[in-house]
């Protein structure tokens, strides 16, 4: 264990609040619960903390968008959940629970059974995600047979159905073709079919459209959304495209410097962003029908992992920064329907900042 683990005592109230939010209305645990997960990379010049005490949950069938700039720790969070961190990266603290069962400390063989079977994953680049030496059918059948008892011919039938489902024409012929015989968009459809082939309960889509042509990005997102809804799979949609989030996600988590700064229902976060960073992020999205000469810009850039300032990591760029932000790290504070990691919303600061809004909840 790293000595930098913060004492639990200090953060008890915030942790409780987060814990409550992770229970759905029926009282049963959410599908995925991530609690105070910390991802570290030991390097020669000290330990880098790529994901710092991140807590969130995803309910059954829900789409959670995860946004943030490059290097904010979005992909790292996704990889950590499924146990695929590149060594020497490791989960140094916290818990990941799937359906109430802890999965971050499972032995290899057990986490392997969860991958694909319960948590599917879609990666960024469909051109390199498929093994060039095998037909798409081989890769589908292999995955299906790894996780089920289907025979070769049944698995093949299932694979053809899946290809049809993801919108590949003439699937019974295309199944015997190699990845290089498919276009980029078609390959991402194959990747989605592979991620969904044994009906996982959760799909982690790590920037699934970033490497694709703009004209087919929308198609792929729509397809992913539709299929996950039909298969009853929840989605963790990692992206830096707020437009995609706005269209597909139910809730959104905004990440900055390896931390979640704001999480809440997507409409609430977009219309009424509370964290100054989210606010700036929303301001920087061009919108049709708005007559702005210039988009808002957040001054400066995200700090490197080696240079994260004490207190709130956003404090050097924050327009509303005050003294406390430079020393104390804010935890997620429930405000209306969302949770925000910002001292502006702390009860004790209510008098000094941002009108009465922060005082209204507690």
């Amino acid at each position: 264990m790293s000595p930098s683990d913060t004492p639990i005592q200090d953060r008890a109230p915030a942790a409780q609040a987060a814990g409550q939010a992770e229970r759905s209305a029926a009282g049963k645990p959410a599908l995925l619960e991530v609690e105070k997960m910390r991802v570290e990379f030991p390097t020669r010049r000290g330990t880098l903390v790529a994901v710092d005490d991140v807590s969130f949950h995803i309910n059954e069938g829900e789409v959670l968008g995860v946004v943030g700039e490059s290097g904010a720790g979005k992909s790292m969070t996704g990889s950590a959940i499924i146990g695929l961190l590149e060594p020497p990266g490791r989960i140094a603290g916290g818990e990941v629970r799937l359906g109430g069962r802890r999965i971050d400390n499972l032995p290899y063989e057990q986490i392997r059974r969860i991958r694909g079977r319960e948590i599917g994953m879609v990666f960024q680049d469909p051109l390199t995600s498929l093994n060039p030496l095998y037909t798409v059918g081989h890769q589908l059948i292999e995955t299906i047979q790894t996780h089920t008892d289907l025979s070769e011919s049944q698995a093949r039938k299932r694979a053809i159905e899946l290809l049809a489902e993801v919108g590949i024409p003439a699937p019974d012929r295309r199944i015997d073709q190699y990845p290089h015989q498919f276009s980029g968009g078609m390959r991402q459809r194959v990747v989605i079919a592979l991620a969904l082939c044994v009906n996982p309960r959760l799909v982690i889509a790590d920037e699934p459209t970033t490497a694709l042509d703009v004209s087919i990005q929308a198609q792929i997102i729509k397809l992913l959304h539709k299929l996950c809804r039909e298969h009853g799979a929840a989605v963790m949609l990692i992206t830096h495209d707020m437009g995609v989030i706005a269209e597909t996600a139910d809730r959104v988590a905004v990440m900055y410097s390896g931390r979640i700064v704001e999480v809440g229902p997507v409409r609430e976060v977009i219309r009424n962003a509370k964290h100054p960073y989210t606010h700036g992020l929303m301001g920087s999205i061009p919108m049709v029908g708005h007559d702005l000469d210039r988009l808002t810009q957040i001054e400066g850039s995200m700090p490197r992992l080696t240079e994260i300032p004490p207190g709130c990591p956003f404090n050097p760029r924050c327009p509303k920064v005050f003294e406390r932000c430079r020393h104390e790290r804010p935890e997620l504070i429930p405000v209306e329907e969302t949770q925000v990691a910002c001292w502006l919303y702390d009860e004790n600061e209510g008098a000094t900042a941002n009108g009465g809004r922060s005082g209204s909840h507690g």
């Binding site: 392997r112 030496l133 037909t135 995955t143 015989q181």
Partner: protein
């Protein structure tokens, strides 16, 4: 596919013709074989008769056409040294060399690939370091030193294995094999290992480097994310992707195994083609030398053809590019 093979065969014939010209040129530039064969006391009549018999009185183009024609029929003329047809000499020595090369190539593959996979997958294991250190010896010691060391250890000190020659040979008519008896194997194992050691370490290091490379690719990460079994990922997905470079190098190496077998055969007094060739050089036995040259060229051409065909079997992308059958 068919067009490709035909094209390659045509190229092969062209290469063989060029090698034929070079082999033939050996006869023209290396003195008069008649002196060597008959000695200084022979009479002019004897010399003339021999010249006539060897076909040395014909014009150069006629000689060349005869040479190529005979070579195509598998006839390479008379050995100056032994006075027997060269093809007979080859028929008695070729099986020894082929078996030696075949067994050592197999050793190199069967030991080298698993070692490469192991060191590639378990980079920090103690055994991996041992393998890598030992492989340095294999890669840096010359073949003859290894051969002599092995003779010293296993033949002289331990007395486990015979130190020279090839015995326990079973005659199968056209082919004399040493692979059917224990005695045959006991004679074969040391020279084969000596010959294999360099290739083995080369293959091991190559497979290791390729495995490390492939481990980093997205499709391996995606295969892991799909929950495939380790076995399927390591051997099905990763190893297969390392095969193309391994095949390339292996093809080249089988060729050089044939060439390096000269040294190993000399060290172990192995009655193969390499020894035949060395004796031929000492005696300026041109027909043997030139047919050795052509035979080796033939092997190289065939190996390259096989390598090209194996590429096609392994990598579907190559099939699409040359045949233009891709549906992009």
């Amino acid at each position: 596919m068919f067009a490709f093979i035909v094209q390659r065969l045509f190229q092969a014939i062209l290469v063989m013709l060029v090698v034929g010209i070079i082999s033939f040129a050996l006869f023209r530039f290396t003195g008069d074989p008649v002196n060597n064969m008959l000695g200084p006391e022979a009479t002019i009549e004897q010399r003339e008769a021999l010249r006539e018999r060897l076909g040395l009185n014909d014009s150069v183009p006629v000689q060349f056409i005869n040479f190529i024609g005979n070579a195509a029929k598998g006839e390479f003329g008379l050995s100056y040294r032994v006075g027997k047809p060269v093809e007979e000499l080859i028929a008695t020595t070729l099986p020894a060399t082929i078996e030696l090369v075949f067994v050592s190539a197999l050793m190199a593959l069967l030991i080298g690939v698993p070692m490469g996979v192991y060191t590639g997958l378990k980079r920090h294991a103690a055994l991996s370091r041992v393998f890598l250190t030992v492989s340095l010896i294999g890669i840096s010691l010359p073949t003859f030193v290894i051969g002599i060391l092995m003779i010293l250890i296993f033949g002289v000190w331990l007395g486990w294995l015979p130190t020279f020659g090839r015995q326990g040979v079973v005659d199968l008519g056209v082919w004399q094999t040493g692979l059917l008896t224990l005695q045959g194997w006991s004679h074969l194992i040391m020279p084969a290992f000596t010959l294999a050691l360099f290739q083995l370490t080369l293959i091991m290091r190559l497979v290791r480097a390729e495995m490390l490379e492939v481990q980093r690719t997205d499709y391996i990460k995606f295969a892991k994310a799909r929950g495939l079994r380790n076995r399927a990922i390591n051997y099905g997905h990763a190893l297969k992707n390392t095969l193309v470079p391994v095949i390339t190098i292996m093809g080249l190496q089988v060729g050089s195994l044939l060439a390096f077998s000269i040294i190993t055969e000399t060290v172990f007094a192995w009655p193969g083609m390499g020894r035949l060739f060395l004796q031929a050089i000492q005696f300026v036995d041109i027909p043997v030398m030139s047919s050795y040259l052509m035979l080796m060229a033939f092997f190289f051409v065939m190996i390259n053809l096989t390598v090209d065909l194996l590429y096609y079997a392994v990598d579907p992308r190559l099939r699409a590019e040359t045949l233009g059958g891709a549906a992009h």
